[in-house]
């Protein structure tokens, strides 16, 4: 049967997500947040999620809705500080010990996800050596410098925002919209993309930025 990854709705795309899933969420600085899918995940009501998301508190991302709804038991991120002096819902949960947090340097976060999709179980990096964020991790010298061993991150589901898709799941991204989306798709067992437009024709190989084999389902996100 001809490969066709288009599904009717975000709800359909996420119907089989299970409690306890590890979920990647793309987006950075206002670009590439899969807010249609995040909203669908909230409505779906899945519990005890581990979110792997660069920022747990970015104001343009609906990630906070999942957290406020009590669906999240753990967050892996590089940023979890709410704006202003008052505590954000995330910070309140964190203070109350109701949510677990792993904070990683952003490049380690990205590389660990890339490793998760690339069959690399762990890699050494100079980033974070001698800091609180690598406390307890293995440090090893190569040449004249110390490096820390960082494990790969893999997940059950990736929610990715892109610009266009075709039936094969090939994706294009606008400007800085890609950010973590491509590596997240590679590291997840199931990857779902929401896009501005779905092309009737295959996206030419000169334009595709992520091979469709990394994407399992595509949903149109009406603007």
């Amino acid at each position: 049967m001809a490969i066709d990854k288009r599904v009717k709705s975000a709800g359909d795309a996420l119907a089989d997500v299970a409690d306890g899933a590890t979920v990647f969420i793309s987006g950075f600085g206002g670009a590439g947040f899969p807010n249609l899918l995040i909203r669908a995940l909230r409505e779906q009501g899945t519990k005890r999620l581990t979110l792997v998301v660069n920022s747990a508190t970015h104001r343009y991302s609906l990630t906070h809705e999942l957290i406020e709804a009590g669906q999240v038991s753990k967050v892996i991120c590089s940023a979890a500080r709410g704006a202003g002096k008052d505590l954000s819902p995330f910070e309140t949960l964190l203070k109350a010990g109701k949510i677990e947090l792993t904070c990683l340097p952003q490049g380690t976060f990205a590389e660990a996800i890339r490793a998760g999709g690339a069959g690399i179980p762990a890699f050494y990096t100079p980033v974070g050596v001698g800091t609180d964020l690598t406390r307890g991790k293995e440090v090893r010298r190569f040449g004249e410098r110390d490096y820390v061993l960082e494990p790969a991150i893999q997940g059950d589901l990736a929610l990715v925002r892109a610009d266009t898709a075709d039936q094969y799941g090939n994706l294009t991204f606008r400007y800085a919209q890609a950010n973590f989306g491509p590596v997240m798709a590679t590291a997840a067992r199931l990857a779902v993309a929401e896009v501005r437009a779905i092309s009737d024709q295959p996206i030419p190989h000169t334009q595709a930025q992520l091979p469709g084999i990394y994407i399992d389902r595509v949903v149109l996100a009406a603007e």
Partner: protein, 232 residues
């Protein structure tokens, strides 16, 4: 052009001073806050690419209202434009670029810098607030040169150039140069070496505002900057 005397440099003047040292054809990453203003004060004729952690290689000026595109942002979520020759890569590739030593200069804000180059710029230990490290550790550990722009002392007068950092570290032994409102200081294997001191300020006075011994470079110069209104 008159110069400011005895008055400490304001934030934009500190950015200006730092910008004077950016070499032609460099690839530079500017941290949030003061460092972002560096882009406004490059020496004429210097062709520089600014990289942003989210993958924009060749950040141009801020977008004017009619050019705003919410997908074209920098690491500070600012709506920006692209310079000629700009490219855009994904985050894993962007941090490969940063960590791989391809950024010539990373200019960062800081809370403290130690005499051995240790940098503390990400965690003020504000009670109960969540952590926010972003790309700071990657830039500090990965760039060929790390420069810091920060006030010489805290608002309460405590030194920011210190013997060892009291706040959580961003990276060890990484800072090469510090631009403050009072001085330009290199961080060397022998500790802090002062290259410039605010015009009219004595070395002794600078030393009292510093938390670790200062060496003064042979032929150190007075620091001054053209008048620039401070940022809001």
């Amino acid at each position: 052009m008159s110069t400011v005397k005895t008055q400490p440099l304001n934030r934009r003047q500190m950015a200006w001073r730092s910008a004077q040292d950016i070499a032609d054809k460099s690839l530079v990453n500017l941290g949030l806050g003061m460092p972002l203003a560096v882009a406004d004060y490059l020496q004429p004729g210097r062709d520089v690419f600014f990289q942003s952690e989210n993958g924009v290689v060749g950040v141009g000026p801020l977008a004017t209202a009619d050019k705003i595109d919410t997908d074209l942002v920098d690491a500070g979520s600012r709506r920006v434009t692209l310079r000629p020759g700009a490219t855009i890569i994904d985050s894993a590739s962007s941090f490969a670029m940063i960590r791989g030593g391809h950024i010539d200069v990373s200019i960062l804000g800081a809370f403290e810098v130690a005499a051995n180059g240790d940098l503390a710029n990400w965690d003020m230990r504000v009670p109960d607030k969540g952590p926010l490290v972003g790309g700071a550790m990657d830039l500090a550990a990965g760039a060929r040169a790390v420069w810091v722009i920060m006030e010489h002392t805290t608002r309460k007068g405590a030194p920011r150039l210190v013997g060892s950092c009291s706040l959580p570290l961003t990276a060890v032994r990484c800072v090469k140069r510090i631009y403050t409102d009072l001085a330009v200081v290199d961080v060397t294997p022998a500790g802090f070496v002062v290259l410039e001191v605010l015009e009219g300020m004595t070395p002794e006075e600078l030393a009292t505002k510093s938390g670790a011994p200062l060496t003064f470079a042979p032929g150190w110069k007075p620091l001054s900057a053209p008048p620039i209104a401070d940022a809001d």
